[in-house]
């Protein structure tokens, strides 16, 4: 990781954070589909990033979002869960020939097929943790499953749109 990547990551962090708390907090489709776009930010960080710094970053990001959502601990725990699962999952789905160093794992670099297998299970894990904790004690599990699935789809679609619009493909050699 060079200094340019780090600076871009920090700018990205602020940007995703503001979008999440200012715009997406009020955007819930049909009372069902939530959009947690900051998950996409955590997914698109460089492949080489280790689990420990990623978990600390996820903790801080989740905590910040929780303060604005008035849901202390909810986003924090699910973001940490995502950060913990990310690296093992990346290693599990290594394509033949391995990853190119310094390539962000986004849609444009890796192709739709790989990105689907990479992002959908991780987003699902995050959302499932989130809605499970949110629903503890109410015993309404069917709405919880609906919310999880529709939110996963919504987050994924918006994540793809953001990448197509604002991300650049890394030039090949």
């Amino acid at each position: 990781m060079n200094s340019k990547t780090i600076i871009l990551s920090i700018i990205g962090l602020i940007f995703y954070f503001l979008i999440q708390i200012l715009v997406l907090k009020n955007l819930v489709l049909f009372g069902m589909a939530f959009c947690f776009l900051y998950v996409i930010y955590l997914l698109l960080l460089p492949i080489e990033i280790k689990t420990i710094p990623l978990m600390i970053l996820a903790f801080i990001l989740g905590f910040g979002i929780d303060i604005f959502y008035d849901s202390l601990g909810l986003h924090t725990s699910s973001a940490v869960m995502l950060a913990f699962l990310r690296r093992p999952w990346i290693q599990l789905i290594t394509p033949t020939g391995g990853y190119d160093p310094n390539t962000p794992p986004n849609l444009l670099n890796m192709g739709l097929g790989w990105f689907l297998t990479y992002s959908i299970p991780l987003i699902l894990a995050h959302h499932l943790t989130f809605f499970f904790i949110d629903n503890i004690g109410t015993y309404s599990y069917i709405p919880m499953i609906y919310k999880t699935l529709s939110s996963t789809l919504f987050t994924f679609i918006l994540g793809v749109i953001v990448q197509v619009l604002f991300y650049k493909k890394k030039r090949g050699i």
């Binding site: 689990t51 978990m55 989740g62 929780d66 601990g73 309404s140």
Partner: protein
């Protein structure tokens, strides 16, 4: 010894994961307890200022609707005023002056609101400096909204009625049957009326209002109308669904009510309790 340390080092990521999750769960538990930590929430001063600035922009989108609601409320109050002024020919007597200021009302603006989670909170733009205290009841021109959970100097955070842990003492207006209103976490337009016994006749469309028993709300603030009555799974109680009068998705201005006699009422009820035991 070295082996143990090496082993612990090899699972350091997992250990950190466990401790961070534990910290998060501690946050959830402590925040949702009634005496929860109020520092890290949206009534925090810095966060509140930020939300206030944001609200300054978005409030313009709902101005028309808000104006209309306020005008309707004004008209309603005006009718009440004229009808009470016209009663000069009837016999009137002065109420004991200590009862005159039982309830004090204040107004505030909503700067942060959510309706879709199971535990929803609202942030108001007034705090301890404006006389807002913990435990005050919150309502608006349509009906009941919630109860103040914590205050900072300039902001207050409110537990919305759309919070599955909040119980509001309520009654059915026509028959005076009491019960408790609680949200079931499903739709933001509906809540449950609990603890209404089965032998009571309840009909669809009945109005549900606050009972005034718990000293937070004055008697008679609208909660909603009865939408559905079922036998329910609990043997003793009916399963009643209320259609809420308040539209939580468009909250802008709210009123806060403080009962000046709450301490007196509470201590009296405490005394009766100890005598009965």
């Amino acid at each position: 010894m070295q082996r143990i340390l090496l082993f612990l080092y090899s699972i350091r990521a997992f250990l950190l994961f466990i401790s961070l999750e534990a910290a998060a769960i501690w946050l959830i538990v402590s925040y949702n307890s009634p005496q929860g930590a109020v520092f890290f929430n949206s009534s925090n001063n810095f966060i509140g200022k930020f939300l206030n600035a944001k609200e300054g922009v978005t409030t313009y989108f709902t101005l028309g609707k808000t104006n209309q609601n306020l005008a309707e409320k004004n008209a309603q109050l005006m009718t009440q005023l004229t009808s009470s002024l016209l009663e000069q020919d009837s016999v009137t007597f002065d109420v004991d002056s200590s009862m005159l200021k039982t309830y004090e009302f204040k107004s505030a603006k909503v700067i942060n609101n959510s309706i879709n989670l199971r535990t929803n909170h609202i942030t108001l733009n007034k705090g301890a400096n404006d006389g807002i205290k913990e435990g005050m009841g919150v309502f608006n021109d349509q009906g009941i909204v919630g109860r103040v959970k914590g205050v900072s100097k300039n902001f207050a955070s409110v537990i919305s009625l759309l919070h599955t842990d909040l119980l509001i003492s309520s009654k059915i207006k026509s028959t005076n049957v009491i019960g408790s209103t609680q949200w079931d976490g499903k739709s933001s337009q509906k809540a449950k009326l609990r603890y209404v016994p089965r032998h009571v006749t309840v009909s669809k469309g009945d109005t549900v209002v606050t009972s005034g028993y718990n000293a937070v709300f004055p008697e008679g603030i609208l909660i909603g109308t009865i939408d559905e009555i079922a036998k329910g799974t609990e043997t003793n109680y009916l399963d009643i669904t209320i259609k809420l009068a308040t539209n939580f998705s468009t909250l802008t201005y709210v009123y806060l009510v403080e009962n000046n006699l709450e301490a007196e009422l509470d201590s009296l009820q405490k005394i009766t309790k100890t005598i009965n035991e």
